[in-house]
Each structure stands twice: as C-alpha cells, then as structure tokens.
Amino acid sequence: MRGQTTPPQFLPLQTVSPMPIDPTQRRATISVLVENEAGILARVVGLFSGRGYNIDSLTVAPVDQRGRSRINVVTSGTEMVIEQIKAQLDRLVPVHRVADLTMEGPHIAREMALIKVVGTGEHRVEALRIANAFRARVIDATAESFVFEMTGGTEKLDAFLDLMRPLGLAEVSRTGVAAIARGKRVIDDLHGAHDA
C-alpha cells in the first residue's frame, strides 16, 4: 500500500504510525546507517544525552565503500520514547536509514568481550572449565591469569561474567552490540533501496 502511494524519492520512514499509550518500557536495538563524516558520532551521542534518552550500548564502524558507517544503539524506553528516538535520529541530516531491528523482524545481536581472570589453584581450574562450557577462547595465559575471548549475545556474556566474578574476574573489555537482521533482508532494503 505504502509503496504505491509514496513517490519513490521520499523516504517512507518519514511516515509515523499511530501511537498507543503504553507506559511499559521495552528495549530496542536500533541500527543507523550514516554518512561517515566528522562529528556524526557526537551528533548521535549528543542527541541521546541532550534529550535524556538511555544508551545501553553503542557501536560504530565504517561498513561500505560508499563512505557510510553503521551505528548500533541498544536503548530502552516506553514505546513513545523509542519512536521519538527513531524520529530524532532520522531527522539528522547525515542519517540515511534508521532501522528498529527489534520491531522489524528477527535479528541477531552479538558482542565480543575480552575477560581477564586472575587467580591460581581451584579457581583457575574452575574458570577454565566454565570457559570451555561457554566456548570462550583462551587467547592469553600466564601462570596466574587468563584472558578469554568470548562472542555472544549480551545475556550470555553477562552470565559468563557473573560466573567469573567469584573466580578472580579482574578486568573486562566489551565491544558493545553489533546487530543485523536475519534472512536476506538488508538495511537498505528494509525501507527500499533508494541509494542503489
């Protein structure tokens, strides 16, 4: 329906859906395709801080040869706030696409963590056993430490860290969430490939 009524030069994203009032919070994983220009990250981060939105996780990196970057933001808020976050992101001039992966169908979200556990004896053995169960890789080891590399969903990383805490968890470095839709859909096609 929308495809027929909207001339192709306009972004159908600009259409707003009717809004139910729902005070409950939800978490949203939002991917934003942006021009890779100076200050774009500051623009996005400033938008969140200036308007009081939450950022649970944020990643950014160049993703194609056309000078575009992808920002993945995990945020939470009421439905009204999340719709507002999407609309505010979408009106930033260098933003090409805003995709709410949580709403637009199944998606996959992963992050990577480097986890340093320091200890000896039973703790050290137990840490290695749990790491194997979680399929974490040992990428550095000394007589009294491990660095594990682990990739997975946020919950899996959180669970692993909880288990490592009593076993000498010393330091964590996490990438934040990278996310992508399942199946053959791509972010350009989520709203029509205008820039092809």
Partner: protein, 572 residues
C-alpha cells in the same frame, strides 16, 4: 541572497575583503553578533527567504549561539558563516578559537566545518538546501581562515538529490482520507494551527483560510501561527495556550476532533499534558515526523508540508459526500459564543486626564491607529508581558507580519529582528513592541538603525518591572519581587537622541494618541517610552501545570474565582 548581517574580525577578514570588492550583496554591520542572527531571523520570517549571517571566530561565534537556538526553536531558515582559526591551528587553543561546530551542534539543524577549499561550494549549496527544506532551521558553516584565503573552485548547485536528507512534503492519501473521515464525523471540531503554516509560505495560509471556511469549523492559533488566519474573522477564536483566550482554550478542552496543522503541542499550549483535550481524537499535520507523537499521542499522523496537506484536505473534503452534523456544529458554536461573550481580554482604561495608561490600551490604540493609516505594518516583539498583550490585542490578518521569539523566549529579539524586517521592507512600517527590560538586552542595535537610516519604531511598554517575572512572583511566590524591578533605567528619550533617533514619552492616557501619531508620522527611527500601569497582569492565564479549563481570568471578571466546575475556571 541580497543582504548579510555581520560583524568583522580577524578570522573573517578575507571574506570582508571580498565583500569590499562587490556590490551584489549588501552587508549590514550590527553592533553585536547576537543582533545579527535576530536580524537575519526577522529578514527570513518576513520574506520567506533564508537569512544570512557572517561572524568571526571565537566570541563572534559564541555570541551568535542564542540567535541560532532561537531560530532552531522557531524553525527559521538561517545560514550562519563563522570564521575559524586556520586549519593547522585548530585544537591548539589559538587566539579567538572556539570549538564552533561542537558548541553549535545542538544549536543548529546542521553544521559544517569546511576543511578543504574544494568542498566549499558544495557545502554552501547544501547549507542553503538544508536550512530551507523540510522543517527550516539554522545551519552553521565554520570557515577556517586558510580555506577562505585560498582560491576555491565554484561549482553549480547539485542537480541530484541530497544523499541522505529528503524530507517528505506530500501527504499520504490514505491518511488524508482518515483525517477527512474523522473531521466529517465531528460534533465539536477544532482546528489548531501554528508556525508551520507560516513557514509553508503565503499559499499555505491562503489554503488554511479556504479550508476553515469550507468546513465552518472554529480555529485557533499558537503564538507563532498568528496571521495565518485573519484575526478579525468570526471563525477565529484568538490565540490559545497559557495566555490564550477563554474561548480558544475551552474549545480545545472540549472538542471531540482536533486538527493540528503545523504546531507542535508545546507546553505553553497544552498546559498539563494529561488533562489536555482529554476527549478528542487528534489529527496532527507536521513536516517533521519527530514532532508527531512527541508530547501528545495522535490518531492520524500526517507528514507533509502544511500548504500541500491543506490543499489535499480541502480537495478531499469537497469530494467526500458525507455531510457534517450541522445541528451538532451549530450547538458547538452556540457554546463557543457563550465563552466568547465572556470577553476575556477586556480591561478598563480610566480616561481622565493624566490617568495611568493600561498596557492593553496602548497596544489597542497602536493597532487601531496603524490600521487607520493603512500602511503595510510589521510587528516584532521582545519577550514578556508586552509580547503576550501584543499577541492578544494586535489583530494580525496576514502571515509573515508578526515576528516574535516563541520557543526560546529570547529577550532582546525584537529590536534586531525589526532591523532585519526593515532591511527587507524599506517602505513598510516596522514596530518593535518592547518592554523596558527586554529592550536593554540589545539596545546597542540602535546604532545600526542610525547607520542604515532604518526608521524602526520602538514602542516600549514601560512598567518598570520585568513584568512577566513580577507577575509570576505575585501569583506564585507570595509577592516577593526578587530582582524583578527595573532599577536605574535610562532616560529613553535622551537615549534615542544620543543614537540619532527620535525620543517620545507618554505618561498619561491623554498623551498616548499624540505620541503614537507622532511616532507613526516620523520617517526616522523612534523610541516611544510609554509609561504603563506597573501592576497590570496578563490574563487570561493558565498557570504552569494546570489544564485548559483551569484558566485564571482578569480582575474584570467577577466570577473569576467562582466557576470551579469541569468546564469552568479555577482560581489558583
């Protein structure tokens, strides 16, 4: 672009040198950079064109920030060129260096730092496109000195669309259909319009008038939208909101279908959100999707240019065979007329010689005398009580003739804005309705008026207080007038004289007409210092946190404390 408002400095000297060698662009030298941005705002809002500003790096740019935020809040198209230290010095805390793009990022619609000469032409074209497209706004181009010294190739404006910014201007026909279905079924409809209709151009105001008349529905306007629909038309209920009329606010509260065109459910309009128009189904037309469902959830969202949407609504209204419920509509109008009969803006002016002038009366006489004159008249204001009285008592019947700082509420806006309006309309009558406190915020621009012989009239309602602050202190802070008295005021007549302008003063009601007449007859800049009642408050008023049906009326109304009912008024 014909006019540029600016102030020179080290980082922009090469641009000023280029200006020296040409005649196509007129440069107006302001007296402080903040004045330049407000002047460009007045120029832009009175012409529909993009206003252009040129300031230097560091303090030049930081002084411009207030005006930029003002333009952002009121959706005024501005391109502001800021000087910057040379690229190799950026980040070194160089003399007059400021992180202008960092500071202005949340103050603008978009901003640019040009780091290569070959990007300059593209960025300038893009900046004008971004400033005027979609929801208009201010755009900053930060220009390092080496970039403007080195020759830069000129390239024509790109013929292709912008890579990422393409606002939707045409509405979705399905949503137009839904809107018409709601409107046709309404028993108590209300049309509420805002600055978006003004920004969409004169044709949009024209479409609004035709649509409102076709429907027979009542309409109201925000502060920013005044003039889009003629104020003297019987279908217009006056401004709504905190200092809106009794009838407009009660009609908003009691309507069953609301059509919002180009307004953004601002808190000055809605009052307490959870009590705002509780029983209405709402249609919201806005070119900025982020304005929709931001404060107030709506049933039918329509993204598009206000003019195009109104044309689409009008066409669909005429095509749709459904009849409106004329009986219900007549009953609704009867109810509205009862509210209107309250005459909520009335005041009593003592007429004996030497009687103190009521500020509302001063505006009313200004309106009547300018109207009798028949000249094209533009009004700007500062911010405060005088601004609200101007909105209430000066009845605008054309768009783009009313310039005021709505969203940001910037005291000091009116004089430089009037300057910009007068530059664009040299033969028109341009009046800044001011307060004695606000006017001092940018009084230095009197020098600019003198230099360019701009015959702006400054009409000061002098109540010796920051009146709105005093009013809130009286109503909400037990009458403790903390720091709101305008102590040590200048003699405005002498001040006018020292700036090569005409100074006039009225202290009693019998002097008012003579002063206004002399002001209007003068072909020079004038400051008219009108001494008004220092105790007068601006009513009606919806106190902060109250609902539309909890208005306070003025002392003229015996029942101002009586009607504590659902649809009545509550005295706070």
């Amino acid at each position: 672009m014909e006019v540029i408002f600016g102030y020179p400095g080290g980082a922009v000297l090469p641009i000023y040198d280029a200006l020296f060698h040409q005649n196509a662009i007129r440069h107006v030298l302001v007296r402080q950079e903040g004045g330049a941005v407000h002047a460009a705002e007045g120029y832009a809002r009175s012409t529909g064109k993009v206003g252009v500003v040129l300031v230097t790096s560091g303090p030049g740019a930081t002084n411009a920030v207030t005006g930029l935020v003002d333009a952002l809040m009121d959706s005024i198209p501005i391109v502001c060129l800021t000087g910057q230290v040379p690229t190799h010095l950026i980040g070194n805390d160089a003399f007059q260096e400021a992180d202008t793009t960092g500071i202005t990022r949340p103050a603008t619609k978009h901003n640019y730092l040009v780091k290569r000469s070959e990007d300059l032409a593209r960025v300038v074209h893009e900046a004008f496109y971004v400033a005027r497209s979609g929801r208009p706004g201010p755009v900053v181009i930060d220009l390092p000195k080496d970039i403007v010294i080195n020759p830069a190739p000129w390239t024509p404006p790109p013929e292709t669309q912008h890579r990422s910014y393409r606002p939707q201007t045409d509405p979705d026909p399905e949503q137009i259909r839904q809107a018409i279905a709601l409107l046709k079924g309404a028993k108590r409809p209300m049309i509420y319009t805002g600055g978006g209709v003004i920004n969409a151009g004169e044709a949009a105001s024209d479409a609004l008038v035709r649509f409102v008349r076709a429907t027979g529905f009542p309409c109201t306007s925000t502060l920013m939208g005044l003039g889009a629909y003629p104020a003297n038309d019987p279908q217009f209920l006056g401004m709504l909101g905190m200092h809106g009329t009794y009838e407009a606010n009660l009609a908003m509260h009691g309507c069953d279908v609301m059509l919002n065109v180009g307004a953004r459910f601002d808190d000055r309009v809605t009052g307490r959100l959870n009590a705002f128009s509780p029983n209405s189904r709402k249609i919201h037309v806005d070119i900025d999707p982020s304005s929709i469902n931001k404060n107030v959830p709506v049933e039918v969202p329509i993204v598009g240019d206000a003019g195009r949407v109104l044309e689409a609504l009008l066409a669909a209204w005429q095509q749709d065979g459904t009849r409106v419920d004329t009986q219900a509509l007549a009953e609704w109008w009867r109810e509205i007329d009862e509210w209107r009969a309250k005459d909520c803006l009335r005041f009593t002016q003592e007429t004996a010689r030497g009687s103190i002038i009521k500020p509302q009366y001063a505006i009313q006489r200004l309106y009547e005398m300018t109207r009798a004159l028949g000249r094209e008249t533009f009004i700007t204001t500062e911010v405060g009580q005088h601004q609200m009285w101007a909105a209430q008592h000066f009845r605008f019947d054309r768009p783009n003739h009313w310039m005021t700082s709505g969203g940001l509420g910037t005291m000091g806006y009116g004089l430089p804005a009037a300057m910009g309006v007068q530059m664009a309309h040299p033969d028109a009558l341009v009046i800044d309705i001011a307060g004695e406190a606000s006017i001092l915020m940018n009084i230095q621009e009197m020098g600019t008026l003198a230099q360019y012989r701009l015959p702006v009239k400054v009409f000061i309602l002098n109540n010796q207080y920051m009146g709105m602050v005093r009013q809130w202190q009286e109503l909400l802070h037990g009458g403790r007038y903390s720091e709101s008295y305008s102590a040590a005021l200048p003699d405005f007549v002498k001040l006018a004289d020292s700036f090569h302008a005409v100074g006039l003063r009225a202290t009693g009601v019998d002097e008012l007409d003579g002063v206004i007449a002399e002001m209007l007859a003068s072909d020079r800049a004038v400051i008219a210092d009108i001494a008004v009642d220092p105790k007068e408050n601006c009513f009606p008023m919806i106190p902060s946190g109250a609902a539309h049906n909890q208005m306070i009326l003025g002392p003229e109304h015996e029942d101002r404390a009586a009607g504590i009912t659902d649809e009545g008024l509550v005295l706070v």
